[in-house]
Symmetry: D3
Subunit: 250 residues, 6 copies
Amino acid sequence: MRILYAVPGPMDRKELDRRVAMLRSWAAPGTEVDIVCASEGPASIESMYEEYLSIPAAMKLIYAAQADGYHAAILGCAGDPGLDAAREITDTLLVVGPGQTSFQVAAMLGHRFSVLTIEDSMIASSYELAYKAGVQAKLASVVSVNIPVLELATNRAASMEKIAAAGHLAVERDRADVLVLGCMSMGFLDVAKEIEAAVGVPVVNPSLTGLKVAEALVGSSLMHSKAAFATPPKLKSGKVTDLDDLYIRL
Amino acid sequence: MRILYAVPGPMDRKELDRRVAMLRSWAAPGTEVDIVCASEGPASIESMYEEYLSIPAAMKLIYAAQADGYHAAILGCAGDPGLDAAREITDTLLVVGPGQTSFQVAAMLGHRFSVLTIEDSMIASSYELAYKAGVQAKLASVVSVNIPVLELATNRAASMEKIAAAGHLAVERDRADVLVLGCMSMGFLDVAKEIEAAVGVPVVNPSLTGLKVAEALVGSSLMHSKAAFATPPKLKSGKVTDLDDLYIRL
Amino acid sequence: MRILYAVPGPMDRKELDRRVAMLRSWAAPGTEVDIVCASEGPASIESMYEEYLSIPAAMKLIYAAQADGYHAAILGCAGDPGLDAAREITDTLLVVGPGQTSFQVAAMLGHRFSVLTIEDSMIASSYELAYKAGVQAKLASVVSVNIPVLELATNRAASMEKIAAAGHLAVERDRADVLVLGCMSMGFLDVAKEIEAAVGVPVVNPSLTGLKVAEALVGSSLMHSKAAFATPPKLKSGKVTDLDDLYIRL
Amino acid sequence: MRILYAVPGPMDRKELDRRVAMLRSWAAPGTEVDIVCASEGPASIESMYEEYLSIPAAMKLIYAAQADGYHAAILGCAGDPGLDAAREITDTLLVVGPGQTSFQVAAMLGHRFSVLTIEDSMIASSYELAYKAGVQAKLASVVSVNIPVLELATNRAASMEKIAAAGHLAVERDRADVLVLGCMSMGFLDVAKEIEAAVGVPVVNPSLTGLKVAEALVGSSLMHSKAAFATPPKLKSGKVTDLDDLYIRL
Amino acid sequence: MRILYAVPGPMDRKELDRRVAMLRSWAAPGTEVDIVCASEGPASIESMYEEYLSIPAAMKLIYAAQADGYHAAILGCAGDPGLDAAREITDTLLVVGPGQTSFQVAAMLGHRFSVLTIEDSMIASSYELAYKAGVQAKLASVVSVNIPVLELATNRAASMEKIAAAGHLAVERDRADVLVLGCMSMGFLDVAKEIEAAVGVPVVNPSLTGLKVAEALVGSSLMHSKAAFATPPKLKSGKVTDLDDLYIRL
Amino acid sequence: MRILYAVPGPMDRKELDRRVAMLRSWAAPGTEVDIVCASEGPASIESMYEEYLSIPAAMKLIYAAQADGYHAAILGCAGDPGLDAAREITDTLLVVGPGQTSFQVAAMLGHRFSVLTIEDSMIASSYELAYKAGVQAKLASVVSVNIPVLELATNRAASMEKIAAAGHLAVERDRADVLVLGCMSMGFLDVAKEIEAAVGVPVVNPSLTGLKVAEALVGSSLMHSKAAFATPPKLKSGKVTDLDDLYIRL
């Protein structure tokens, strides 16, 4: 099985290598994982504005991945930017959004889950993601740890403490019995087990869980529904044969 | 009061002129309406993929409109592409999405409304729009008229008939008591009153209603909430001063 | 455009004059606003009991306003007493309830709104109003300022302080990002802008917004749906021709 | 136990006698049932307008019933006109609304219930009643039998047939497994058992069930919550001592 | 009318006698109440595991009660273990679950109710019960008093204090205006009136209310819906004639 | 990784062997799958009564599986009988319910899913399962194929036709874009791919998907939440050390 992890923005080679190494260490025997990043896009995603900025270039990665014969692609951002669009333009490549997937996995494990997000500016979009995932009924709360994405890894201990504090708040105030790390950078910080030990409830790591669910869906021969994510009419009709043809200039 | 109608993609001058003339004929005394289109983007919006494609260029129009002193901007697509992002990057310019606004106005007029959309491929996103607007509780159904956007105006009589048939279905099968035209091209076809006469329930035209609500909100000195649509951290901190600085290339 | 502001109970001439002057100062060019009050009814509305008491006489004002050729009537109480009945007995006069309208406008501006109500005894009915408006999904909370209606204006500074405190509570505890003043007397106290400055989120004034939305709906040629608010069968059949004929005595 | 059945409008003596005889035949040993009607009000209730018209006079019956030492009062209309107000002005007399009560009893018996209402003009208010009762989650549909209240009893066989047809529709199309007769005149037509036999699902008769639930609640020493239905501030403060004092004239 | 109170597990004779004496003291004239317990099952029910353990033996009591000609049976546990199964295997015996019934009665009395449960381990199942009862919309919260069932009666004063404290919390923090005792052992402690006096809102006692509602439903000639609770196909087809025949051994 | 598939009732050796062979053919490299059935219980599960009958013996299988060092157990019935109880009595063995899991996986693939169930008698419990899974918001409908479990495999072609017809109905009438086979016997009939081809939307097979999700969760080091599924107090306190000790006899 071949899975592509597609980062929706520029990322330096070293970090790409670190991430793909973690993904490969998590992969089941027989799963081949590659990583790629868009050559242009936002430096990091901390707002809806930056989410949207990232989509056009990321979609080209997805479209190319299907042509390249990958079985699944994972969007490399827990906001799942452009997930519906990615599914519209594919029909043999399964596209997985690690955000929605993590929420759905949290729903498998308990009655109420809370999302730990990076900054206050991303709280509203986490609620929206729970709506899209269909699991709003189990969402206890979204709590921000208030650490900018790009500073998350620079002081791991301080980040850990803030994340655990947010987790405690979710459990005690909001009666969460499962937590979800709401950001891929938190995911690749690889702190889920530590937070789990500190807070006492399961912690879903979107980086890991996105991969394992992609494997499970491909292993179940399941594809996202084309009745739900219809191919854009202009593509379907064959009037255009390349994504670039859908974008025109005056 | 100065209002800008911002079309999120290339549009020919003649159609721009026709639309702005209609908008000006609807405007209250004292309201000045301008129109502008993005110089690049999708030819028309019939999928989420094309919605996302339209956002980056459209956001630049919005950002410039604020700098230019406009009081309000109306996104020229009933899918409200990038509405949350547009509100994140503005704080003196009110941004109105005609889709959500029309749904909320429909909620003002009756108990249950249906949306008449262009193609099956846009049904799912209309439900999502009702969620974002907060009026899901009154959404009776979304019914597709199955006419491609670009063919809507070419045979007005045939389009009218299909739209009225969809309206009848919504009223009889789904108990809708208000209808919303779910597309700006339907709006500028100026058929709301005819559909209203044919079907017997109020029909909300997003082209007209988007403008009147923009006037009402500016006239009420109301701005979208910055607590809901926070300025992107990188912009807020002053680290970047231009939208282009948020977009990097490897 | 002719709009009538109909106060559902006796009010002294001076206060009527003060209110209509404010309304006229807010009106768009071309809008003519009149005010009228019922000659009998409750002294003020602080309970559902008093809301119901106010309806029969207020409905006569509405029925007469239609006969008189007004384009719209605004119910002069944010509880929207009898709004559905008022819409049942009219078909050329648009009836606007400032309570529901303000909630719907709040939904246009953010993700979650709170209502600041006058007394604990009105909290439950504010939740019901949000249900009727179809925007329950965005209602964060209803917070009482605990000032009797008739004392609200006697000490403006103290009232302001209590209102701002309730607003802060809504924003911090309940994550509201928009506030609604839940009472017309609060509205005509004209404190929205001060509260907005104090609390930092948009504040919807039902007195002002009710008027601006009435203008917007009439300007959109929209009427409340008669499929939703059917004319009472006895009126429709022509068996009775006057409202008084619907009321009999043993 | 003393229970008063309070008809919210004028009714002729013969019909009052017929109804109270039925109620007494249903009453448990030890329950004393009386009937009273308002001396003025609507001839029948087929719209929200008429519901509101009936409230002021009906409330006086309720207030007097408490002074008179009754344990419970049943509003004699399945629309429960003014139920919240009636509960605001009482604290030793339990007030039961037969509409909401029947919906709650239907929720006790199955998974999904449908309401059979009299006319299309009352459908919307039945949905609202389910919201107030808190059992919206189990409401399958509201189906109108389209017989005017005052004609219901004149041709019992024809009425029966229409009611059964509406019941079949609810069961087959809307998957209802319990039915509720949505009108007291249907209730006193005493057709529940026949409809039950014809359609094959339990049928809740509000006339009978309203009485039995009143007995059960009084027998459980339960009163409606004053925390939910607060006494109007002017009454509570003792500033007024009579309902009439809450109603003023210019 | 003959009603059986069926305890789903072994209980000593003295406690059975005490409980049936209370039930008989509450019964209406003409109601005959008996009590029976299963000869095997859990010692007490403090988990879903123990609820399920209790069901097979309890169902035999229910099946026998129908054969014995009882009009109604009340499950002797506020978790309503196996209520749906009990209704599947009966069609002339009404089966009442005191848990769901109490929630529905609470919905009759106010806007928001809270459930006081015995231990944290039963909180989740109380939310599920509210879903089954169809009254989730009015559930304010579930608060645990943290007293093991079997210790509840040993120190009545201490239990009372903890229950009242939980009630105060529900009213003040969660805006409950009605309380429900979420356990039959609490019910037979007979503390509802004391809690009501201490906290100031109505308190529903499932032991008492289960009985009074059973009387009301039988008195209304209402049976649970067989369209909702279908007879198991093997029983319906007549292939098996005894419950034991549905249970096979390898 | 060691996974146990636990059938909650007696099953003949040949069918056990057939099922475990299919499971092993689906398992990832490194996953060892065993199968076991309860030595007593219902012949098949077509009602809630039979679901409950199956739980006590099935729980012993689960408890023993944990002692035996399995990493996960899958309940062998798509009604997930006793899932919450199974999770209460385990803390190192992950328990997966194939019903809820399939619903959650369906939520991953589209906007609306329908469940194809075996008999009308199981429709209500499928809705309840969607509530427990937290994905009610995406449940389009439950459609019965009306084939008794034990006859499903005897005429595969006829069964296939009925299942496909139910699938078409769900897609066309209820707008489902994903289907779930609501029964393990349907799952092991191995018809998902054929139905998918016939109906044109993804079909989730609970037999296969239950296994793949168990692998994914174990591979993610995730366990069901003990904060959600608390160990029964008597077990936790150490007062009893064996499941049998929780069951007493008079």
